[in-house]
């Protein structure tokens, strides 16, 4: 079941090609989490780091122990974004996602329409660009 619950991009045009990038990156995510084995089984979260570089983008992945996958795609020309900043972005996303799950009106599996989640993502994207 790999349908996206949430996709957001800045600038918003060309969003379709991000859908494609993210979808292919999921294969890499699956590869990484199935190959992990006992060494990382104790970790509660899996920051997967750079999944694969393309010409134009760097794609980072993160998967929770509940198998929810987060993917961040950054322009290759952005060299100022450091690894620990990406980690912190994933942590914020994970926390916001947990809050969305706790909304009694949200049905797990539905697309995310939370204003609070939107504003966390907006702030993060502004800071990253």
């Amino acid at each position: 079941m790999n349908c996206p619950l949430y996709i957001r991009s800045v600038p918003t045009q060309g969003e379709l090609k991000f859908h494609y990038t993210v979808h292919t990156s999921l294969d890499v995510v699956e590869e990484k989490i199935s190959g992990v084995g006992k060494a990382l089984a104790d970790q509660r979260e899996l920051y997967l780091g750079l999944l694969y570089p393309t010409e134009d983008y760097k794609v980072y992945g993160y998967v929770t122990n509940s198998k929810v996958k987060f993917v961040i795609v950054v322009d290759s020309s952005n060299t100022s974004l450091r690894d620990n900043e990406i980690r912190s972005m994933f942590r914020k996303l994970h926390n916001s996602f947990t809050d969305v799950m706790c909304n009694p009106f949200y049905n797990p599996g539905d697309p995310i329409q939370s204003k609070a989640f939107d504003s966390i993502v907006s702030t993060m994207m502004v800071q990253a660009c």
Binding site: C102, N103, F105, A116
Partner: protein, 177 residues
């Protein structure tokens, strides 16, 4: 000592918040009408209030209030603190001293809650109105309690308006609604 009093005084509030959320959403599914859900929540709150007052009086040892102002202070500073861990402020007294507002900066019942667009008439925390009404009825006060402002519906704060209606005669039994 009985097991309930030996348990830790503070427990994680998320289970409480999620339980209330499950209750509200189930009512929404069952009744499919926001006004009806508000009424049901108020009724449940009333049934909680008429029982909770005993626990409150036993644990807080407050004496009989001399006037409505004292009642307001006890509700805000003792009761809300004891059961919800928050201390609303008491403001907007009517000139006659029979009506006031409780302003809640935060409310554990609504943590993480975002009302969907199709529930614009839902007063999510209606349970609280019933609790206050039921509790005060058991100490011979008939009051009207309603939400004047609600952060879930876009207001900056949550405001509960409480109005004193009349004293209740002691010999009338209060039953479940």
């Amino acid at each position: 000592r009985c097991p309930q009093t030996e348990r830790a005084a503070s427990t994680n509030s998320e289970l409480f918040t999620l339980t209330y959320g499950a209750l509200v959403t189930q009512l929404c599914k069952d009744y499919e009408n926001d006004e009806e859900v508000n009424k049901q929540l108020d009724k449940m709150g009333y049934n909680i209030g008429v029982r909770l007052i005993e626990d409150f009086l036993a644990r807080s040892s407050v004496g009989r209030c001399h006037d409505f102002r004292e009642t307001a202070d006890v509700i805000a500073k003792v009761a809300f603190k004891m059961y919800l861990g928050i201390t609303p402020s008491v403001t907007n007294w009517s000139p006659a001293g029979d009506e006031f507002s409780l302003i809640l900066e935060s409310n554990p019942l609504v943590d993480f809650v975002e009302l969907p667009d199709n529930h614009s008439n839902l007063v999510y925390s209606s349970l609280l109105c019933g609790v206050l009404r039921g509790a005060l009825e058991m100490v011979q006060m008939a009051v009207d309690v309603r939400f004047a402002q609600d952060t879930l519906r876009g207001d900056n704060v949550t405001e509960i308006r409480m109005k004193f209606i009349k004293r209740i005669e002691e010999n009338l039994p209060a039953g479940d609604e």
